[in-house]
Symmetry: C2
Subunit: 663 residues, 2 copies
Amino acid sequence: MVGRAAPASGGARPVVALAPGTGTLRPLPALAARLASGFWFERTAVNAARSLAAGLAQLEATGTLENLRLAAGTAQGDYRGTLPFLDTDVFKWLEAVSWQLQQGESGGWSPADAKAWSVAADEVIELVAAAQAPDGYLDSYVDVVLGGERWGDLHSGHELYCAGHLIQAGVAHRRATGRENLYTVAVRFADLIVEEFGEGGRRVGYCGHPQVETALVELYRESGARKYLDLAGRFVDLRGSGLLGEHPFGRRYFQDVTPVRETHAVHGHAVRALYLAAGVADVYLETREPELLAALESQWDDMVRGKTYITGGTGSRHRDEAFGDAFELPPDLAYTETCAAIALMQWAWRMLLATGHVRYADMFERVLYNGFLAGVSLAGDHFFYVNPLQVRPHSTLGPEGRQEWFHCACCPPNVMRTLASLRHYLATGDADGIQIHQYLDGSIRAGAAGVDISTGYPFDGGVRLSVPAQCAGEWTLSLRIPPWARGAAGLELDGAALAADETEGYLRVRRSWRGGERVELTLPIRPELTAADPRVDAVRGCAAVERGPLVYCLEQRDQEASIDEVRLLGPARDVGPIQVADVAVPGIELDAEVFVTREPVPEQRASAAPLRAYEAAWGYRPVGSGTRHSDVAAHPHVTLTAIPYFAWANRDFGAMRVWTPLA
Amino acid sequence: MVGRAAPASGGARPVVALAPGTGTLRPLPALAARLASGFWFERTAVNAARSLAAGLAQLEATGTLENLRLAAGTAQGDYRGTLPFLDTDVFKWLEAVSWQLQQGESGGWSPADAKAWSVAADEVIELVAAAQAPDGYLDSYVDVVLGGERWGDLHSGHELYCAGHLIQAGVAHRRATGRENLYTVAVRFADLIVEEFGEGGRRVGYCGHPQVETALVELYRESGARKYLDLAGRFVDLRGSGLLGEHPFGRRYFQDVTPVRETHAVHGHAVRALYLAAGVADVYLETREPELLAALESQWDDMVRGKTYITGGTGSRHRDEAFGDAFELPPDLAYTETCAAIALMQWAWRMLLATGHVRYADMFERVLYNGFLAGVSLAGDHFFYVNPLQVRPHSTLGPEGRQEWFHCACCPPNVMRTLASLRHYLATGDADGIQIHQYLDGSIRAGAAGVDISTGYPFDGGVRLSVPAQCAGEWTLSLRIPPWARGAAGLELDGAALAADETEGYLRVRRSWRGGERVELTLPIRPELTAADPRVDAVRGCAAVERGPLVYCLEQRDQEASIDEVRLLGPARDVGPIQVADVAVPGIELDAEVFVTREPVPEQRASAAPLRAYEAAWGYRPVGSGTRHSDVAAHPHVTLTAIPYFAWANRDFGAMRVWTPLA
């Protein structure tokens, strides 16, 4: 009864397509990328050391685990919380622990740690298994709150969404540990879903919250059983037919307006749209149906043209957590959910594998260092759900800082599983060599090819690679050159300048390596000012500071003037490091002037006689002649200090802005 | 058992304070202001001829009237709709019909019309009365859906809010018609509420949605019974003590964070905040308690400084229909509910009466001509709930244009009652003469004083007043000079320039009128460009066009270039009238340049070598040297045409903007 297919050839890491493909990239073997030190080692070590433990404590404290006990009949009481998808917090946490277990000591856990975590995970898995019905069904909300009434609300019941996260966790746990206790639970539920929703099954439908699509394709890859891929394809094919019915926010809210193949723009709830896109990309990776890729590419273009924040965040609207219209990108009202950042990374990774196009790796990096990483505190135990690019003083818009957990806690365990599996997403390899998309401090091995890497990236642009003796042979080392460095990257081989083609965003060095060579890549990391497309009304006349892959921001606590009352005067420059929690980040200084005076405002209209009785407080004034702000008298100069956006709100929570007006 | 107090001395029109006060203004007698022709005559005639009939049809079609039949036990079935306050749509409609009936033929209804409407209103009143419980309670949702479980949910049940609208309707109907059939129903419910919530009553609490406060004060004025004023004061005094409990959007959502007297900023749900402020102002008008006025004045200052749109709209946020932070005024994401405009007019009027300060009349005018009037179609049968100041092409943000009715239909009948009672809010009078706050085409009589007025306002700045023979005597004619005209208004008496003091926003002419004099006021109405406080990030570097009291906008249909891709080059100028539906509005032309080229964008960073591989679609670029938009090559010039904001979306629904970038 339980899926017993042999592990697929790919195995042991995410998104290894079974379909024979050409012109695409392949994920590295399971432990091929190791983080030894440096930026991502530290961030993932915090995840391993603190976030996972905090997550387990929260799952217990909030009653999310108790809900599973209720479903299993081993506890009595009411369902805790009100949302129907709280089980997924458990599943995502299990997925995170699994990926962390896979790394062993290289991930920061001692053997004793790993043993303890494996036991803790098994206890949770036991709880999950106990909550499963004899026929494979598993959903504590449906069991406890709805009296077991299944599939009654595909519109907003989230049952398939929950199943998807269970499947992802089961697959990850098997890939990471080789064990089947969670995988078996997942497969049993998946089989029931295939019976229910597969071709000829009892029901025709799909989930209001996409996510199960990518899970089913991963289960296909893990099990080799085609039926899971077919069902994922079926969900993709059916979507857009309106079967879900109406939604208060419109059918576009859950991407049910047009068939996937005819959808050329991103719209609706951002996380749903992006999980769906990732699932469609997964189906494409296995079916190679050109229409799917074409639709995904148009959706991508639409997204990056005017629906993506400079941080890689998406979702402009609080009301329905949705993409805005093109160029509707308010920094203050940005929703930019942490889960949307994660979903975008998942989509970007699959598009990179499918096409090999550098732009997907570029976007992965942008989201990773900014929109995603800001979602978790540097200490690893507080999280943002919403990630604004501007916070006004004493804002009433959101909570005052990161929270330990949420009523709707999708983001924290999503951060955890992403960091725990991050090393899978840094490089690819094929018969021709290795392709490094993100710069890590550690090592990469792919078949005969391999490099050891030492770098201070993202703070420093020097990347020193050495080819170990055992990697001698002819292969190509491909190094992604980020967009801000293209045409300006330096490359040396054993201390001598090396001419290498920069093609399609990668410097490619093909040679017969003897082993022992030292390759040094120099990326010009320095502060730069960036402007938005002038159609982005919300940040017209403003600049953001970027430094390498990092977007910067101004926090009020670092300034001598109100950040809402200054204009930038000149270029940005490096200053010494600034300590934020236990991370020393490169600071940036900017010259600015204060544009709001506290003196009484002269009340006159350009074309009329002086008006004595303009209401002093009224927020609008006649446009002056010659200058836009004729009401400004003196402009005291100040020096502003910026820090990386990912580090904001780690000292206190106050006013912050990414975009600042230019004088 | 029913309140039988004699009509109060004020009677027959809104907000006539009973308290003896000095230094404040007094509403005019009931029929003192008559609209004979011109702008407001037309708009209110459309309301009388079309909106009221459309409203009645909708109340029947949507089942809102049927709900009252269910409560009365004269029909069977389920409650129609899901909201607990649908009864208020009936009450507001009845209030509108009442004020219209008061006007008789001067309001546009023939005697036959008036008779028919009186009968129609009586039928609805009968329905309302039948739904009333023997003890006076009346709420169809509570009766039908909650099985009569009363007062169980002050947090969001809206019972007192519903009662407030019933009371307002009952008072209006009695003032307007002298009849007591609706008033009696209202008084019975009000008496029950006093028993329940009054000092020593069974309950201590107040409503999650303020509104009953102003209704109770009006009932006090109408009945003379102090207990209603006391209860209004009690609700005001208790508010802010946290009795309502938590709210998902925070307790500030329903103004339950701080006591009213300690609240110095507007916050939370805009309509709630503004109805509460109006209610507090009503209490102040009767009690003259300085702390209440001080709190209201600080709230006002906070609102107009950075929480009010140029249209007079308020409420920046869709999610919780709330005020934003200071200077959070996005034109595209503006919520600016039509009801918030109406609530602000109610507050402004009460502040004007309380203080005589011109700024409240200024704001009343701004809201009236812009944020309020845009809420209804020129044909009178379609309504906006949300009133954005910018709509992008094919926006997914709201419905495509005004709607006939809404699931939550608070706005349409609110518009109707406001237009039907508008003449009460145009001028005031006292022993010293009359004060004209808004310019109407018609006549005003107040005791011995009076003028006939002929004007093309708001399209034309000439206001011709004549003093009829019967108004001979010594009195002061006070004419409000709008802020854009202060210091620049012309005044003539019988063709000769007249020197008159412009004090505190009013030109005041005190003399012994013989009768027959002709006074001509000339207000300099011409197109002007307005800028926002530079701290309003969302419209930085932009200008709006204003012409007299009217805010203008660009509708895409009138332009030869995309309104999202143009920058203004120079001043605005009048062009001939533009026909919008059956209204000819003054058009305005602006010179502009197109700033978005369709050619490939040069991909380079200011300080680096050319970058070949910047993703073409990515919406961000390095800040160029010297210009903010170095990616713009050619700037074709175009001429743009603007129309008044109130008239937008009357020909079709497409892209629109109030704020346009300045070159």
